[in-house]
């Protein structure tokens, strides 16, 4: 029996379906009316800068904060009327590792397994299985206060999987992790999604949303300002960009004039020199521009046609840059 069979009896394909969610803190509307539909089995990212309302939105959906207006169903259960059923169908990994520092990793998992109703040896077995799956078996008997950031995060996610949730909420799952640990967490998130768990994650890292999520909702100042696949969002900014690298950097000026003549945008040289990027309306226009360069005898060592980065998308949508500037370096 799958744990989420209970709720799949409700015959709709959405894991989460929210309408008009509002949460105010005093005068400030942290979430100012958000609709959200998250299909089952999908990794869905809520992208936005600090203070955009991502965490508040997630806490409402995880029954940790009561909405002031609006409602939602989570795995077919009404958020307001059946909060306890919702809790039975979800798991949440908050922004700060919600673990008992004094206890060992194994004890933390046994504690939660027992709260879910596993008894005696079954609770221990569950803890051991999870520790093994999350590469933590070697640290099972260590107190959590001696864990590294990456280990804590892995244990925290493991703690959310005592009973397979229908929806797993991950609030900024890789904030503060080093690149290796971040890759590990990403791999686990993909594996979980592969086994059918719906994952709703918040992130302020454009790269993370791009890498993981099938759909992305962009949130700014409590409102959803865009939603779609990463490709769709990028398409909203209109154009891709052409990047060319020259064998002979001395001809950069000449190349720039040719590109501008063909594409109508001013090319930007890269910092190191020898490369130019320029907005290109379409792949056809870009290939014509490349042909112009070759016809003029300017040899290219490399060229790529890329979509705009999510950074530029975010800037185009919100009129201000995402913070921190796109690069998920801690």
């Amino acid at each position: 029996m799958h744990a989420n069979d209970v709720s799949s009896s409700a015959d709709h394909a959405m894991a989460i379906s929210a309408r008009g969610l509002v949460k105010r803190f005093g005068e400030l509307a942290a979430v100012a009316g958000i609709d959200l539909d998250v299909p089952r089995g999908m990794i869905f990212a809520i992208l936005g800068p600090n203070g955009a309302g991502k965490t508040t939105l997630m806490r409402m959906l995880a029954t940790l904060a009561a909405p002031d207006e609006g409602n939602a169903t989570v795995m077919g259960h009404d958020l307001l009327a059946a909060a306890d059923e919702v809790r039975g169908a979800i798991a949440m990994t908050g922004q700060f590792a919600s673990l008992d520092e004094d206890l060992t990793g194994r004890e933390n998992l046994i504690l939660l397994a027992r709260l879910w109703g596993f008894r005696g040896r079954a609770a221990g077995q569950r803890a051991d299985d999870l520790l093994a799956a999350f590469d933590l078996a070697y640290a099972a008997q260590k107190q959590v206060k001696d864990y590294s950031g990456g280990m804590r995060r892995r244990l925290d996610i493991a703690a959310s999987l005592i009973v397979t949730p229908g929806v797993l909420f991950l609030d900024e799952p890789t904030t503060g992790l080093d690149p290796k640990a971040r890759q590990d967490v990403w791999r686990m998130i993909r594996q979980l999604a592969g086994s059918g768990v719906t994952i709703l994650l918040t992130t302020q890292y454009l790269e993370e949303a791009d890498q993981l999520a099938a759909r992305i909702a962009v949130i700014d100042r409590g409102r959803k300002i865009a939603e779609g696949t990463s490709r769709e969002l990028k398409a909203q900014t209109g154009s891709g960009s052409l990047r060319v690298a020259l064998y002979d950097p001395s001809r950069l000026g000449e190349a720039a004039r040719l590109l501008e003549a063909r594409l109508g945008h001013v090319p930007q040289p890269n910092v190191e020199g020898g490369e130019l990027s320029v907005a290109a309306g379409s792949a056809e226009a870009a290939s014509a521009a490349v042909a112009d360069l070759l016809a003029a005898g300017i040899e290219l060592s490399d060229f790529t046609m890329g979509q705009p980065s999510l950074d530029s998308v975010f800037f185009a949508l919100t009129g201000h840059a995402a913070e921190p500037s796109g690069e998920p370096t801690p």
Binding site: G88, G94, S98, E101, L103, R114, W116, G117, L161
Partner: protein, 270 residues
């Protein structure tokens, strides 16, 4: 498919066991409190050092002056120091609660389908254990120094039961503070600044007969005095039902007022 994928697949095909009872939930949190004792044995040091120092200081330095002889004073003081220890040690559950709330641990507990009061019940289990351990150590030291409970083992047992009830009642004060205050040390400072006058303006250390009348008026109705009188009576023999009832008055009132308040604050926080 890698072996990791297989491991993850096996992991995510887990059925939810039948929902456990509220009592079972509470016992799990009690188990957590026991684990804390095992992993942080230092806390026992904090727990008993102060009362041991008090016992030695008052018995040997002040005892002779206060009661004629050290051994007479110990006979008077030991039940009182038990009350003081229990009242002061109630602060730990409030500090623990404040720490847990600050770290987001309660967010996980609250997103689980469990009895909402279970985490608090667990704190209380920890408190009771603390009271029993600290009380046991102080009693042992008292016995070594020459304290003799005239009511014997039965009297001591009854006194310890009453101590646990007292600790349970006062524990709510710190749980409410722990819920409201994010910094554990503030919980301690605030709690102590309220508890100190109540504990010291009592009959724990000296017979109030020598106090000025305005202070004696307070000491006589101070709940801590009422508790101490009952514990003394139970351990020496001759406690009346009325004394025990008066000692239980404050813990009962505190529980009736603060337990619902705790639940209200806790559920309103969302």
């Amino acid at each position: 498919m890698t072996t990791e994928d297989t491991a993850m697949r096996a992991l995510t095909a887990v059925a939810r066991p039948p929902r456990p009872s509220a009592l079972s939930n509470a016992l799990v949190f009690g188990w957590r409190a026991v684990l804390k004792f095992r992993h942080v044995p230092e806390q026992l040091f904090d727990l008993v050092m102060t009362p041991i120092m008090f016992t030695l200081l008052f018995t040997f330095v002040f005892g002779g002056a206060l009661a004629g002889s050290s051994s007479d004073y110990l006979q008077y003081f030991l039940p009182g120091i038990l009350v003081q220890t229990v009242v002061f040690n109630s602060v730990y559950s409030g500090m623990g609660l404040s720490t847990d709330l600050g770290k987001g641990l309660f967010d996980r507990f609250r997103s689980l389908p469990i009895w909402p009061l279970a985490p608090f019940a667990g704190l209380m289990v920890g408190d009771v254990l603390r009271h029993l351990i600290a009380g046991g150590i102080i009693l042992t030291i008292g016995l070594i120094l020459g304290y003799r409970p005239e009511a014997g083992a039965a009297g001591v047992l009854a006194a310890f039961l009453l101590l646990v009830a007292i600790g349970f009642g006062t524990g709510w004060i710190f749980i409410v503070l722990g819920l409201l205050i994010r910094t554990p040390t503030t919980v301690m400072t605030l709690g102590f600044s309220f508890m100190f006058p109540v504990v010291f303006a009592s009959n724990i250390m000296v017979d109030p007969a020598t106090m000025p009348s305005w202070l004696r008026a307070f000491v006589d109705v101070n709940p801590v005095s009422l508790m101490t009188t009952a514990i003394r009576g139970l351990m020496a023999g001759g406690a009346t039902a009325g004394q025990i009832g008066l000692a239980l008055l404050a813990p009962v009132i505190l529980t009736l007022l603060l337990a619902p308040l705790t639940l209200w604050i806790y559920t309103r926080r969302r």
